[in-house]
Amino acid sequence: MSAVRDKVIHTVENIDEVVELFYQQKISEALDQFMDILAEITETVDALFVYKEENKDFSLDREKITEMLTEAMNALEEKDYVLMADVLQYDFREYLEELEEGLEE
């Protein structure tokens, strides 16, 4: 399996865990965990951008990813944790899963 695909799968799993905590209102724990995976999310997104550079056919909308992450960060700043979880879960995570299908094994 390619390293990028690995990263994406791992990031999706971590997002699952952290949004669960947010939905269950375990905010302190969720924030700690989110801070831990934030670097990973950034790395994964960077890796996807690099992959896009190397594979022109790969369908990746940079603006869409940037918008989603910005919306998640805005929700975090507003302390609207459920909205943040929603964006991570239904926008970002689901887009990552779409992208994963287009990545080489």
């Binding site: 269950q24 459920v82 239904y90």
Partner: protein, 611 residues
């Protein structure tokens, strides 16, 4: 349409709640708005605007999925779960909780904002909630005072670990003060139950021994209910406790003699006698209270409010009228009802002054005065006369509370618990009783007004009462059917024999059931035969009057056995096995206890026969 449907169901299923809503004006708040918007998946989202800040109470994407994931953190497989929830929201979270809760679970749902409730009543079909018998509904400003008492009734130390406390998302943020109070109520409830359990363990044998040995006194005693409506309730009721401040104003009590209803706690009696104060009656509840506290000849003929569990030695040395105000299990209730007389369980409150409060409140006094009710450390000790409570070090660290002069003073955990009990009681009176703290020291009791005892005497002890005559003129409860009551009490002998026999029977059946469970494969048909027999015998035993008197002792000795009785695991076979073992261990304890109390039963029977 929704509103009419909800109201119709409320009238049918919750008429008391409905009447309270009608009576209350669920007034609109300034800077507060409730509305519904729509999520991306079309489901409703509740929004609250409070002081220009907007709070969204559901997911803007998929509210139903959010609700399911929120509920996943809670386990519902155990028995007898109490779920307390702060905040109704638009009922999506509540609905999911109820789907997962078993039939024997209960949901105590508290809405801190009447305007939200009013909104939901108009906009959301609440009929599933209203008609669900597992749900207890509370709304601030309507019936919030009932929350604590209802939860306390269903809280037992064996289900404490199973309780689920939850808060609707965002509610803690929107209503922080109300949430803090809500959590405090739950903590008080749990703490009280733990204290009750510990008290039960400590006094276990004494409760039962006293209950049986005190039975003969039933032939010549009264119940508090016979005195309802008899006293002049405009007289001030003065509860004299033995806090350290009693030393300051005990002599002033002489000016209240004959012009009040003065009830002395057992610990205060000897101080009052020494000071030459003539009080009207006394109260004792503690099963191990030293009899020397009430040994003075001056008090032996005064009416004594008591319980079957009160110290037998005190009851035996006392020569006056005994008046039951607390039941032991449901023994007195069952006996009195059998002979067409009123009796029911009254609140205890955990200490003797709380018992005195319950007596004064039940008798209808409209002014209750505390004297010697410090609920805090004094300069020279914990009690009047410089006495120091020997269990001081055992009841936890010193904590601070507000004193009557606004300063911080030292108290301890159990006193603070009693203080909170009194404050809840006073709040529950809804200003119908004028509560005065004339202790002239100690902790501030919220809801009471602070006066000196001299001021109380000058203002309220202004006319003579006839308390003594009322006590003297009341014939004993069973003076007209003494023979039948004697026969009923003497039936205890047969009950004891039957209980002993049935206990052996259950132990035998449990042995058989365990043997069957050990076989592979398990003969379920045979096992279920024994399981049903055990259940039936257990039910029969639970209904016996004598068993009611043993219950506190049995509970006290079986804490470790019963602590997991409501736990349900994924392993059905193991659960089945554990249940039978638990039943077996429980009845081994019952067998030992029956042996221990046999001499007390014999003594009580002889005394009743001689009476």
């Amino acid at each position: 349409m929704i509103y009419e449907k909800n109201i119709c169901e409320l009238k049918d299923y919750r008429p008391q709640f409905y009447n309270k809503i009608k009576a209350e004006n669920l007034a609109k708040r300034l800077n507060f708005n409730v509305r519904t918007t729509t999520a991306k998946d079309g489901n409703p989202v509740l929004e609250i605007e409070k002081e220009q800040h907007l709070y969204r109470l559901n997911s803007m994407y998929r509210p139903l999925a959010e609700v399911k994931r929120w509920c996943e953190q809670y386990q519902f497989q155990n028995l007898g779960i109490n779920v307390t929830m702060f905040g109704m929201g638009n009922l999506l979270f509540v609905c999911e909780l109820l789907k997962r809760m078993k039939a024997d679970s209960k949901l105590y749902l508290y809405e801190p904002e009447p305007e939200v409730f009013d909104y939901i009543l108009h906009m959301v079909d609440m009929t599933f909630l209203i008609t669900d018998k597992r749900v207890f509904l509370y709304v601030s400003g309507v019936n919030e005072k009932e929350f604590y008492y209802d939860l306390a009734k269903q809280t037992h130390w064996s289900n404490l670990a199973m309780q689920i406390h939850c808060c609707h998302p965002k509610y803690e943020e929107i209503f922080p003060k109300e949430y803090e109070i809500f959590c405090k109520w739950i903590l008080q409830c749990d703490t009280t139950e733990i204290v009750n359990r510990n008290t039960g363990v400590f006094f276990a044998k004494a409760f039962t021994e006293n209950s049986i040995r005190n039975l003969p006194f039933l032939l010549e005693s009264n119940s508090i209910f016979e005195f309802l409506g008899k006293f002049d309730t405009e007289l001030p009721a003065i509860i004299v406790a033995a806090g350290p401040s009693l030393d300051k104003n005990i002599d002033i009590l002489k000016k209240a003699e004959g012009k009040s209803f003065m009830i002395a706690t057992d610990t205060a009696v000897r101080h009052l006698v020494k000071a030459g104060v003539k009080f009207d009656c006394m109260i004792t509840v503690d099963p191990k209270k030293p009899e020397r506290y009430m040994a003075a000849p001056e008090c032996q003929k005064l009416p004594l409010f008591c319980s079957l569990e009160s110290n037998f030695n005190i009851m035996h040395q006392h020569r006056g009228k005994k008046i039951w105000f607390r039941d032991a299990g449901e023994y007195l209730t069952k006996l009195y009802h059998k002979f067409g007389k009123e009796f029911s369980m009254l609140k205890a409150g955990g200490n003797v002054a709380a018992g005195a409060w319950t007596i004064c409140r039940t008798l209808g006094f409209r002014r209750i005065v505390f004297v010697g009710q410090d609920l805090a450390y004094g300069e020279n000790g914990t009690h009047a006369g410089g006495g120091v409570d020997g269990v001081t070090k055992d009841v936890g660290d010193v904590i601070l509370t507000k004193g009557i002069f606004g300063n911080e003073i030292q108290t301890r955990e159990d006193w603070r618990m009693y203080l909170e009990w009194f404050e809840r009681e006073i709040a529950d009176c809804e200003n119908k009783i004028d509560v005065i703290d004339a202790t002239e020291g100690g902790a501030l009791i919220h809801g009471s007004s602070v006066m000196t005892l001299q001021e109380v005497v000058d203002k309220y002890c202004t006319r003579k009462g006839d308390v003594a005559e009322i006590f003297d003129d009341m014939p004993a409860s069973f003076s007209e059917n003494l023979v039948e009551v004697k026969k009923e009490l003497l039936h205890m002998q047969k009950e004891f024999q039957d209980l002993s026999f049935k206990t052996e029977e259950i132990l035998h059946e449990a042995d058989k059931a365990l043997v069957l469970l050990g076989e592979k494969p398990v003969k379920m048909y045979e096992f279920e035969y024994y399981a049903k027999k055990i259940s039936k015998t257990n039910e029969w035993i639970g209904k016996q009057s004598l068993f009611m008197l043993l219950l506190r002792y049995i509970d006290g000795k079986s804490v470790e056995i019963l602590k997991n009785m409501n736990v349900v695991t994924d392993n059905v076979e193991q659960d089945r096995y554990d249940m039978v073992v638990m039943m077996q261990e429980y009845y081994k304890i019952v067998k030992v206890i029956l042996k221990e109390i046999e001499p007390f039963v014999a003594e009580a029977i002889e005394t009743i026969k001689r009476a």
